[in-house]
């Protein structure tokens, strides 16, 4: 744990140092710069242009012109509106000049927030590129002072394929990730601090900043939300625990059984199990959910055979439904673990088993004392990702039960809903985006804490090198 805290401290220190260095450099370049460098602060690209780097200089300049035009036209407006998220409500307003009621087009809080975020991101990009431009101008100046020549366009292109190849190949991924991951996430994170719910839907209504109220409501304020959150959180953890460890152990046992020398047709058995993971989940799980309905084929079959008198409420009784989803998840997950672990199991040094056999260990003892410790050590990262993945296991719950059976005690959620399916329902059917974003942030914190703590402890285990 202390190791972990020092790491966080070190990272924070790095970030702070980087920020300080950034500002110090900004000033140093200006103070030490010649007229070309100083000009670059106002006319971007001047330091390149005046040193015969036409293309680079033009690129800076075009970006600056684009940025300024955008900011003058729209950007500054969106930035100003970011603090209020809209003032004018849609509706009729009395116009004093004409003495009539006029229909006013209201502000759309959501678009204001979205474009506000875009404007902020553009500002950050601008500052980075501006810094880069100044730095480059200063570098040119230093090169000339040393009697060298700044890189020509051709040399720069060559560098992009070699020393600076990372810039070439990461630019496109970075832009796309920013657009489709970073920007949406920033937008949704900010939404958690607004009151964007059913009663504040743009364009008809405005929503605005309300600080940490949503978090307060979820943890203490709103009894219904508190109750729902607590219940779903506990169930999510129970689910993640069983879904991860039952699958893990059962999968290893299955792999061990198939791995035995005496078992014939190993490949056939493995393939039989693997087919279930290969079938798309929306097919297999939907089918199973229909298969298990109260009037479904399984109940019908069991009734016909006389095994049961009344149908079993596989998916309609809260407790049985919870057990059902865990069991069905075994069906989905065991082959998965078997597939992953088969190869690793074969790597366990055989002499460990032989030695233990001489000492008179039973197969069960061998399993708990040799196989499991070895597997745990090798597959800890896999287990952690599985656990986190199960916390966010949307498909199994959504396709099997849809969160049902429904209950009145929970806000927009059913008995088997996980936090993540609740989040989905809140956005799609309830349109309570603010609460959904709040839950999303809470899920993030939960998964981040679990994986950070688990990884750090796992590293400590790894360093012992028990098996080498």
């Amino acid at each position: 744990m202390s190791n972990f805290l020092t790491k966080i401290k070190a990272t924070l220190a790095d970030v702070i140092n980087a920020v300080i260095a950034f500002f110090v450099n900004y000033i140093t370049f200006f103070v030490k710069g010649d007229y070309k460098t100083k000009l670059s602060y106002i006319v971007m690209g001047a330091g390149s242009f005046l040193n015969h780097q036409v293309v680079r200089g033009l690129a800076y300049l075009v970006f600056e012109i684009f940025f300024i035009t955008y900011m003058v036209n729209d950007g500054s407006y969106f930035l100003r509106m970011l603090s209020s998220l809209g003032l004018k409500k849609q509706g009729e307003v009395f116009d004093e000049a004409t003495g009539l009621y006029m229909v006013q087009r209201g502000d759309n809080s959501m678009l204001l927030l979205l474009f506000g975020v875009v404007a902020v991101v553009l500002w950050i990009a601008f500052i980075c590129i501006h810094y880069n431009n100044v730095k480059h101008a200063y570098k040119n100046q230093c090169l000339i002072a040393e009697g060298k020549r700044p890189e020509s366009f051709k040399e720069e292109c060559q560098a992009l394929l070699n020393e600076r190849f990372h810039i070439t190949i990461l630019t496109l991924p970075a832009i796309l990730t920013t657009l489709f991951t970073v920007l949406p996430l920033l937008f949704m994170i900010l939404m958690a601090f607004t009151n964007f719910d059913k009663n504040h839907q743009p364009p008809g209504n405005l929503f605005t900043w309300i600080g940490f109220t949503n978090f307060h409501q979820v943890f203490v304020g709103n009894p219904l939300w508190v109750n729902t959150f607590r219940k779903l959180f506990v169930w999510t953890m129970i689910w993640a625990f069983f879904a991860t460890f039952l699958n893990y152990i059962a999968g290893i046992v299955l792999a061990l059984i198939i791995n035995q020398k005496r078992v014939k047709l190993k490949k056939l058995w493995r393939t039989m199990f693997v087919i279930t993971i290969a079938v798309p989940q929306f097919v297999s799980l939907l089918l199973v959910s229909k298969f298990l309905l109260d009037e479904g084929p399984l109940n019908g079959l069991l009734l016909q055979l006389g095994v049961i008198k009344h149908y079993i409420p596989f998916l309609s009784n809260a407790l049985i439904a919870k057990i059902t989803v865990i069991v069905v998840n075994l069906w989905v997950g065991i082959p998965y673990t078997m597939l992953i672990c088969s190869g690793i199991l074969m790597n366990i040094p055989q002499n460990l088993y032989e030695a233990s056999l001489i000492d008179g260990a039973s197969p069960f003892k061998q399993f708990t004392k040799i196989t499991m410790p070895y597997m745990l050590q090798v597959t800890t990262p896999y287990l952690i990702t599985q656990f986190v993945g199960n916390i966010n296991n949307f498909n199994v719950i959504y396709l099997l039960t849809g969160g049902d059976p429904k209950t009145l005690g929970l806000y927009q959620a059913g008995e088997t809903d996980l936090l993540v399916t609740w989040l989905y329902k809140l956005t799609v059917s309830e349109k309570n985006y603010a609460l959904a974003s709040t839950i999303g942030i809470i899920i993030f914190i939960i998964t981040a804490v679990i994986s950070l703590v688990a990884y750090n402890n796992a590293k400590a285990v790894k360093e012992e090198d028990q098996f080498q």
Partner: protein, 286 residues
């Protein structure tokens, strides 16, 4: 040294027991899949029958799926999915391979921070940004288009670089260092040395990114809303099981599911080796 016959006998019993056990288990595992295939050939109408093996067999479900396009235009959805899958597969493969190469082989100042940022971003639940992505696409006027789907499936793809990086890490560095000494650029090293040596992971990336659009039904439903002609097979088939359609279309759903599932199953089984390699390689590196 001969073993006593009782030991032999108990060994044989154990062998029989193990194989019987495996047989029972694999039947339990395979049963729903077999059931699906049988339902797709079922002649009787209706959603469910309370017996497992159908009484009459037919291929009409498959024929109807492709000919009766009034309510559910399966051929069109199939084409949509295929187009989206091809393009998102191309973009995803390029992005993921390049990102994996950059993080595995190139050393630059932002490398560690970038990897950490991606790790943190990956911890947010994916659905959280779904609505925001919808509005961003809407701002570009792209909602209810196939292009939007391609962008959504491949836009954040670079974040899944781990498996590719894990594989590239296993290619000995001495090889590309030798090439660099001989005057290759890093660009050439990637195309002429790393890529040809990484066929398994390239195939793996191509296949997984190609399968993605066939099995997703959440993002499609958010982006396409009611534009039925732009649906993909997963979402379309999903509609067949809604309360008002299930009675008439259940067997057709099964037929459609079989058509989608068979190629995916074959692909998956044939590449399970790469799949396992990918998952464990990523894991071992932490």
């Amino acid at each position: 040294m001969t073993k006593p016959s009782s030991v032999k006998k108990s060994r044989l019993l154990y062998d029989i027991f193990i194989h019987a056990f495996l047989l029972v288990l694999s039947v339990a595992w395979i049963l729903p899949v077999v059931w699906l295939v049988m339902q797709s050939f079922r002649e009787e109408k209706g959603a469910f029958i309370s017996y497992i093996v159908p009484k009459g067999w037919t291929v009409a479900n498959y024929v109807n799926l492709f000919t009766d396009t009034k309510l559910f235009n399966f051929p069109l959805w199939f084409l949509n999915t295929f187009i989206v899958a091809v393009f998102s597969c191309i973009i995803t493969t390029i992005l993921v391979l390049l990102t994996g190469y950059a993080f595995s082989r190139l050393r630059f100042k932002a490398r560690k921070p970038l990897m950490n940022v991606i790790l943190v971003l990956g911890m947010f639940p994916g659905f959280m940004s779904m609505i925001a992505i919808y509005h961003i696409l809407k701002a570009f006027g792209l909602t209810q288009t196939l292009l939007a789907l391609v962008l959504v499936y491949s836009g954040g793809a670079a974040m899944g670089y781990y498996i590719v990086k894990g594989f590239f890490d296993t290619v000995p560095r001495s090889i590309d260092e030798a090439a660099l000494v001989d005057g290759c650029t890093k660009n050439q090293v990637f195309w002429h040395i790393i890529l040809p040596m990484s066929k398994p992971v390239v195939i793996y990336t191509i296949l997984t990114s190609f399968i993605g659009p066939w099995v997703d039904f959440i993002f499609v439903s958010v982006i396409m809303k009611d534009a039925y002609n732009k649906y993909t097979v997963a979402l379309g088939l999903y509609q067949m099981l809604s309360r008002e359609n299930i009675y008439n279309y259940f067997t057709e759903f099964c037929a459609g599911a079989v058509i989608v599932a068979i190629p995916i199953t074959i692909l998956f089984i044939s590449m399970q080796k790469y799949y396992v390699g990918g998952v464990t390689a990523g894991g071992a590196k932490g």
